[in-house]
Amino acid sequence: MIELTNVKKSYPTRQGQRLVLDKINLQVAKGQKIGILGRNGSGKSTLIRMISGAELPSSGRIRRSISVSWPLAFGGAFQQYLTGLDNLRFICRIYGVDFKGVVPFVEDFTELGIYLREPVLHYSSGMRARLAFALSMAIEFDCFLIDEIIAVGDSRFHEKCMHELFEKRRDRALIVVSHDPSMIKNHCDCAYVLTAGRLSAHESVDAAYNFYQTCLQ
């Protein structure tokens, strides 16, 4: 269970403190799949970083009783001068996972071949996306956090990602944030809309989608 109670987050700006998230309440049970819709700059990524624990809320409480992934985005959080394998080794050490055990999966999934032993600096954006996704699948979590998924890579890569995430790990919880509703429609049980720092719950994904449409007008 992940439980957010009255979470607020504000950032300092030149015009003073700016409230980005305002009294967010949210509960995610094991196996539940939640979509959060919101426009660019509505605070989606901030919310994901709060849930992941990478940043701390200004006030309120976040409890996690299941293991929660880091925010999976395809930019990476890589160390540019390290090789793909060194990046994997680092993540395995951080999460206490056996490195040798996951190398075959990463080799197979990324299809990077000799490039796994080259610095990430020399990767194309597609190669980076493949590595980033493989690294996050190499560590098993009860809940995956997904920030604007899978606009990169070719269709084959896209399919492989979908297979790993939605077939093989269909028993896990998911929190997906996106400004693109189709992904949320296809994969989530319920949806929320984030507008002006407030999170609104909706009865169904369709209801949330309709509300989001009116917000876009």
């Binding site: 990478a54 940043e55 701390l56 930019g75 390290l82 680092f90």
Partner: protein, 266 residues
């Protein structure tokens, strides 16, 4: 603001040690690479510097009234500077290049600082030990007379360096100004840090003034352990420990605040 931790202390400690271990390995590989001499640079760098300083001093023919072996004097002096200067300099602006790592919940801002502090202290210690061993075996330097006191002085100086690094590192997270001030400050403190003189050479009035500088006590204590009764030293280990304790406290507060306010970005 309340933070609840369901994790027990032991479990938290295990996680933190694991994370710092991972960061250490990563830092060594990114800084020194896998090729050439690799992580040997960790202590070859300070070693080369100490060698250069020793050569300069020996070559310039400075003969002090005190019959002090110049090599041992340079080694003890410069090595102790490394302990506080390198740790603090490496911790200044340590967060931005490591921002991506903070995506992982268990990597906290404090861990980034511990990692760099540990690496610098380890580097300075290795260079001190290796250099001393080489010079002693070549007969250029006498072995220390009181090893225990040397170890204690070294430990105190390392603590001071770590505490200063937390303050400087935590400070730079709040304002870039701290980094700008730190560099000139380090240059100004260097000549009065006790590395290049003995307190006993000073006039009486200066002695009291210079002993307010915490690292002076550390270097004097180190030399007391090294040269024993051959030199007269003036220091207060208690004063150095007190300064380190206060700096540690201030540093931890600064780093905690930095961790609360950090904005994680790729």
């Amino acid at each position: 603001m309340a933070f609840e931790h369901d994790t027990s202390f032991i479990e938290s400690l295990r996680i933190q040690l694991r994370v710092i271990g991972a960061l250490l390995m990563r830092e060594i590989v990114t800084r020194y690479g896998r090729e050439n001499l690799g992580f040997l640079w960790l202590f070859l760098e300070p070693m080369l510097f100490t060698l250069g300083v020793t050569a300069l001093w020996a070559g310039s023919g400075i003969r002090h009234a005190v019959s002090l072996p110049i090599v041992a004097f340079a080694v003890t002096g410069y090595s102790s500077v490394l302990l506080w200067r390198n740790t603090a300099t490496r911790c200044a602006m340590a967060i931005p290049p490591n921002m991506g790592l903070l995506f992982h919940r268990n990597v906290r801002v404090l861990d980034l600082f511990w990692t760099r502090i540990l690496l610098e202290v380890a580097g300075a210690t290795m260079s001190f030990v290796v250099l001393s061993t080489v010079w002693i075996s070549l007969g250029w330097m006498e072995p220390p007379t009181d090893v225990l006191r040397v170890l204690m002085a070294w430990g105190l100086l390392a603590w001071f360096g770590a505490a200063l690094a937390l303050v400087v590192g935590g400070g730079t997270a709040h304002s870039d100004m701290v980094e700008r001030i730190w560099h000139p400050a380090a240059y100004i403190v260097f000549p009065i840090s006790g590395a290049g003189f003995m307190v006993d050479w000073m006039p009486r009035t200066f002695q009291d003034a210079v002993l307010w500088i915490p690292m002076v006590s550390g270097v004097e204590m180190l030399r007391d352990g090294y040269f024993g009764s051959a030199v007269r030293t003036h220091y207060s280990a208690e004063y150095l420990a007190l300064c380190s304790a206060l700096l540690t406290l201030a540093g931890l507060v600064l780093v905690r605040e930095a961790g609360r306010r950090v904005e994680v970005q790729t």
